[in-house]
């Protein structure tokens, strides 16, 4: 059970779950982006639904609250004509494992076809994919600090649509890399898709140890880190970082790493600014930049639905080929 891709791919290399961007081929990532692109055009029509998941049941299994991500998955499922069930499961710290397993068995008994999973433990989606019956597709909607692959892919789509391609681009990710599943998934995807350089910028307390081993270059200074960047991705800063002795104050963080027009000027003149949301205005980014001409933050949200539709459709199709190949000839 070691390689994540033995879990998320079929033997012929198609998606059957979507757990992480790590180790996926450039072709597969590009296929996700191309499929999402095709869905963007359907989203501009009066009738936005396509029948790819008609008759399928998708369960949004959120062990951690997130209205925004859950809503985009819900909308994506509905636009693929699936039936959708939302489950918000408050996590009890005392119950270990059994609760999660019991929940899974109960849901399997309802003959669901796909679980969209968000969980506070790194590896939770991976774990669920290994435990569920083989015909249920798992889409990772964020696991601990590990991965948020649909967010990363909508970011890739945003870069591709605004900068033409990812190949050769210099991308900086700024802020709390340590706790960020988004950053980890972005780094893998950017490296695979041929970005010239992936930089992570933040104070030593918010950069994880050995981040270089993932292929990212650490910077502690915005001026040096943003120089010649094509893309600047700001991460959300959680308030609790101040309590854990990771940062002295929001004010000092903003002074050093908050994206202002002045700091943005270090990047290339045509650089785009991204943020996975929700934004803390005046903490990691000032309003003038968030709402300014370089910002593509709202475009990210609309691409999010298309990317989630693409991934859900591809994983379901991967599951269906699996099931049909298992039937006796």
């Amino acid at each position: 059970m070691t390689d994540p891709n033995t879990v998320q791919l079929t033997e012929d290399g198609r998606l059957k779950h979507f757990l992480t961007t790590e180790g996926l081929s450039r072709e597969l990532l590009t296929e996700i982006l191309d499929t999402a692109d095709s869905f963007i055009s359907t989203q501009e029509r009066a009738v936005k639904t396509v029948p790819l998941l008609r008759g399928k049941t998708v369960v949004n299994l959120f062990f951690e609250n997130s209205t925004r991500t859950r809503s985009t998955f819900e909308l994506a499922a509905k636009r693929l004509s699936a039936d959708i069930l939302n489950l918000d499961i408050a996590r009890s710290a005392t119950s270990k494992g059994e609760t999660l397993m019991d929940t899974l068995w109960n849901l399997e008994a309802m003959y669901s076809d796909m679980f969209v999973v968000r969980h506070s433990d790194s590896g939770a989606a991976h774990f669920i994919a290994e435990q569920v019956t083989p015909n249920v597709a798992i889409i990772n909607a964020g696991d601990g600090r590990h991965a948020h692959p649909t967010q990363a892919m909508l970011d890739m789509l945003t870069i591709r649509r605004h900068k033409g391609e990812i190949e050769g681009k210099v991308v900086a990710i700024v802020g709390d890399i340590l706790h960020s599943r988004v950053a980890r998934s972005q780094i893998h995807a950017l490296r695979t898709l041929g970005a010239a350089e992936v930089r992570v910028i933040g104070p030593g307390t918010l950069l994880p140890s050995d981040i270089e081993s993932m292929g990212a270059v650490p910077f502690y200074d915005m001026k040096a880190g943003l120089a010649d960047c094509d893309v600047v991705i700001m991460l959300r800063l959680q308030k609790e970082r101040m309590q854990n002795a990771l940062l002295p104050s929001e004010g000092e963080f903003f002074k050093l790493y908050g994206l202002t027009e002045e700091k943005l000027a270090y990047a290339r003149p045509d650089a785009i600014v991204m943020h996975p949301g929700p934004i803390n205005r005046g903490v990691e980014i000032e309003s003038a930049v968030a709402d300014g001409s370089h910002s593509v933050i709202l475009n990210q949200v609309s691409y999010g639905i298309a990317v989630r539709m693409a991934v859900m459709a591809m994983a379901m199709s991967g599951q269906q080929t699996l099931n049909s190949s298992e039937e006796p000839a």
Binding site: G97, L100, H126, R184
Partner: protein, 421 residues
């Protein structure tokens, strides 16, 4: 006298630097002669041990027994049987039972149940603080009197340096040895694996090396001050090995062990979130592992089992939610011999780290010399076994070698002349 005659075994005894093919004659639980027939008496039974190795019985400096308190994970009978099958004649049980082994009643219960089971002998470690809370001293003298060979706080930290100092002073007063674990909770809290590139990639909260080394330096300074007889349980870092050898060079009497898992695996095993490899102390880097193996080869470091049996449900959870620990007793010697098989260590220093060295730490002697108690293992190094989950003697199902072939198999284990496996 009537003898048990063990013929043609390769006798490996690090205590006496023996490694030769010899016949061994045993009577009344003791070794009468090695390499020659006793002058008088007759042979009652004979074992043809051609091609087999005769080793002193293994001594474990720390394993978790699930009884009292955790019957879903096994019992004293299941685990001591598994230990015997893994080559152990003696095992030190950690005090983190429920209730904690901080009263003589619990220590006596453990001894009685182990004795009734009749497999490996249990040498209980008593709790050094009440409830292992690290605050008030447990009745160490009473526990020692009841049969606890040393005091330990399992992996629960003593957070307060004042408490650490006083418990060392108290134990030193009565010559009670302490088994201490180096773990600075303020640095390790929330972590579930070695802090490094693998933890970063997998997004798992890490336990830095300094969680061990800072606590170790505090322990070493207080050991020096108090003069207590101290053994450091379960070290996992290269730096700790260096710190311990420096401490010994400066005249401190301090010993240490490392869990077998930390000699066999690294943090790379965690890739894929396999909760089997969620262990405490965490599996660290290849550099750490290599330094631990080198210290074992140099005779500086004993090997413990850190046996932690768990039921399936305890491990069937996302990595950080799974209970830490690996079931190790079944096929323990064969697993340890994997290091020899890989060419990383010679047989004799490996056996030393499992027999003579832990014996000396406990103030015992475990050897195959004439006159010694016959606590020994016969091991067939050439056969291969594949353990299935159903064959495990342990109640734990978290064994790393389930359905994987391991080389070497134990044929007999004797405890003071009685066959226990």
């Amino acid at each position: 006298m009537r003898y048990l005659h063990i013929a043609n075994a390769r006798v490996i005894d690090p205590q006496t630097s023996t490694d030769s093919i010899a016949d061994v004659f045993v009577a009344d639980g003791r070794i009468c002669t090695v390499g020659r027939r006793p002058d008088a008496g007759e042979i009652e039974a004979s074992i043809d041990a051609s091609g087999q190795w005769l080793l002193p019985g293994l001594i474990d400096l720390g394993g978790h027994l699930p009884e009292p308190g955790f019957s879903q994970k096994g019992s004293i009978a299941t685990e001591t049987r598994a230990a015997a099958r893994g080559g152990f004649t003696h095992i030190c049980s950690l005090p983190d039972t429920r209730p904690v082994a901080d009263t003589s009643a619990v220590v006596k219960l453990i001894l009685e149940k182990a004795s009734r089971a009749g497999y490996a002998r249990v040498l209980p470690l008593g709790a050094m603080t009440q409830g292992l809370a690290g605050e008030q001293l447990a009745s160490m003298y009473t526990l020692h009197e009841a049969g606890a060979v040393a005091m330990s706080n399992a992996r629960e930290p003593i957070r307060d340096s004042y408490v650490m100092r006083r418990l060392m002073e108290y134990a030193a007063t009565y010559d009670i040895p302490l088994f201490l674990t180096a773990n600075d909770l303020s640095l390790s809290d929330g972590g579930c694996m070695h802090e490094g590139p693998v933890a970063t990639r997998m997004g798992l909260p890490g336990i830095p090396e300094t969680a061990e080394t800072i606590a170790l330096s505090q322990i070493l300074l207080l050991v020096e001050q108090t003069g207590v007889q101290a053994h450091i349980s379960q070290i996992s870092c290269r730096r700790s090995v260096n710190m311990l050898s420096q401490a010994r060079e400066s005249g401190l009497r301090v010993t240490a062990d490392t869990p077998l898992a930390n000699l066999l695996y690294t943090h790379e095993s965690v890739t894929g979130y396999n909760s089997l490899y969620n262990v405490q102390p965490p599996l660290r880097s290849e550099r750490d592992r290599a330094a631990l193996v080198a210290a074992v080869a140099a005779g500086e470091l004993a090997i413990s089992s850190n046996h932690s049996p768990h039921e399936i449900a305890a491990k069937k959870a996302p990595f950080s939610d799974a209970e830490a620990g690996m079931s190790q007793y079944d096929a323990f010697l064969s697993q340890a011999m994997m290091l020899v098989e890989r060419g990383e260590i010679e047989v004799s220093p490996l056996v030393n780290a499992l027999t003579a060295l832990p014996a000396s730490i406990l103030g015992m002697r475990q050897s195959l010399e004439e006159g010694a108690c016959f606590s020994a293992v016969l091991f067939d190094p050439d056969s291969t076994q594949t353990l299935t989950a159903g064959q495990l003697a342990s109640g734990g199902r978290n064994h790393p070698m389930i359905d994987k072939p391991v080389k070497g198999q134990i044929t007999h284990v004797f405890l003071e002349g009685c066959q226990i496996c």
